[in-house]
Subunit: 234 residues, 2 copies
């Protein structure tokens, strides 16, 4: 089974949804046969590389009410994050572009596979939400990526060029093709979609259903007239 998760590095519900999916997987008996792959999504492709405002300011500007309103929104989501054991420091965080982070996530997947990519995804989310670091900054990205086991020379080469930019756009287009209006957006075996950070039980149900699909016992319609070793029903 493969679970693809469309997600952004700066999306508060994405980290929360990641934890809920992980809880469901921890209790899932066939978790060893499940591969999780992270797909790119940019909530705010216009965000700058060098921050110009805090997250609170950005939210207040976007939705009205100013920084104070932004701070209340942050308080709300931090409370939910705390329930999942996540420490958010979004009051310190700054609005930043994520395209380079996503390019590194593609590098991790291509050259290290899903496990390496998963380590980088977790490290990037922690860097932004818990450490309030600028995940657009190349020095930050380099430190986070190498701590997650990526080769420094490849990280540098990707950051210096345009590698994996097309893959990032292709992911975003795929999400739109699936009708995802936002993230996190979970797709299991390209068959089931889960929109948003749903309760653990929802992930559990979808996992069980997808597993049954790929490990079918014949669904039988018994009882028709037939001939067997002991003769025909006549």
């Amino acid at each position: 089974m493969i679970i693809e998760v469309w997600s952004d590095v700066v999306c508060p519900w994405c980290y929360i949804g990641k934890r809920r999916l992980e809880k469901a997987l921890a209790a899932f008996p066939h978790a060893d046969d499940v591969e999780v792959v992270w797909r790119s999504y940019q909530l705010d492709a216009g965000a700058p590389v060098t921050p110009t405002e805090t997250v609170a300011e950005s939210l207040g500007r976007k939705y009205g009410g100013g920084e104070a309103a932004g701070r209340r929104m942050i308080d709300n989501v931090e409370a939910v994050a705390a329930e999942e054991g996540l420490v958010y420091r979004l009051h310190q965080a700054q609005r930043a572009n994520t395209v380079d982070a996503h390019r590194l996530l593609h590098l991790a997947l291509a050259e290290g596979g899903p496990v390496r990519q998963g380590a980088l995804k977790e490290a990037l989310l922690a860097a932004y939400f818990t450490e309030a670091r600028n995940v657009a900054d190349h020095a930050v990205l380099r430190a986070v990526a190498t701590s997650a086991g990526l080769a420094a020379d490849r990280v540098d080469a990707v950051l210096a060029g345009e590698e994996y930019r097309d893959e990032v756009w292709a992911d975003i287009e795929q999400a739109q093709a699936f009708g995802a209006g936002g993230v996190p957006f979970f797709v299991v075996d390209r068959k089931y979609g889960v929109s948003g950070a749903q309760p653990v039980e929802v992930f559990t149900q979808v996992l069980e259903r997808a597993w049954a699909d790929t490990h079918p016992v014949l669904e039988m319609v018994p009882g028709g007239d037939a001939c067997g070793p002991d003769g025909c029903e006549v």
Copy 2:
């Protein structure tokens, strides 16, 4: 979609089930995307190549009541066959082995594909049930197979040797693995099983369900908290 049908050439319910499946397929809007493959099953692997008794005698011996009881069983199944437009002449038919017929069905599939195999299957059933011919006899098999478009030299080579014998046994083992207690036994996309000659509506329902499975729209669980272009739900 692929429909595999475990079936024997001398099985009265198999020909009836074939007609019912065909009726369902004739009304199925995606029939062009359905492939029907015939799998081997032997109801009576101990039957002789050179017949020693009529079907009526064989039935009477096996279930008691003698030839008269056998004739009543034949009358019953012939009445059902007639409802499907099939003319059975089982009173004239003789008990005969079908392993060579099944080997030719494998030849037809391997070298001519499902359409050729389907033509041979129909011709063999007609030869046995309507024409009361001995489908164990190599001259009969040769005539039937070549009339269905098989190459005479390949038919002769297969009949003279042991080709496709393993494939016949493998089919029978697969049927047992699926829990088929008799034939006809229909398997759609290795997901749905239909045991016996069921009504046309049952085939229609299974076809529709299997089609929906292989042409999925994402089954969505909507409504979780998410972040979109217009912000996060906080």
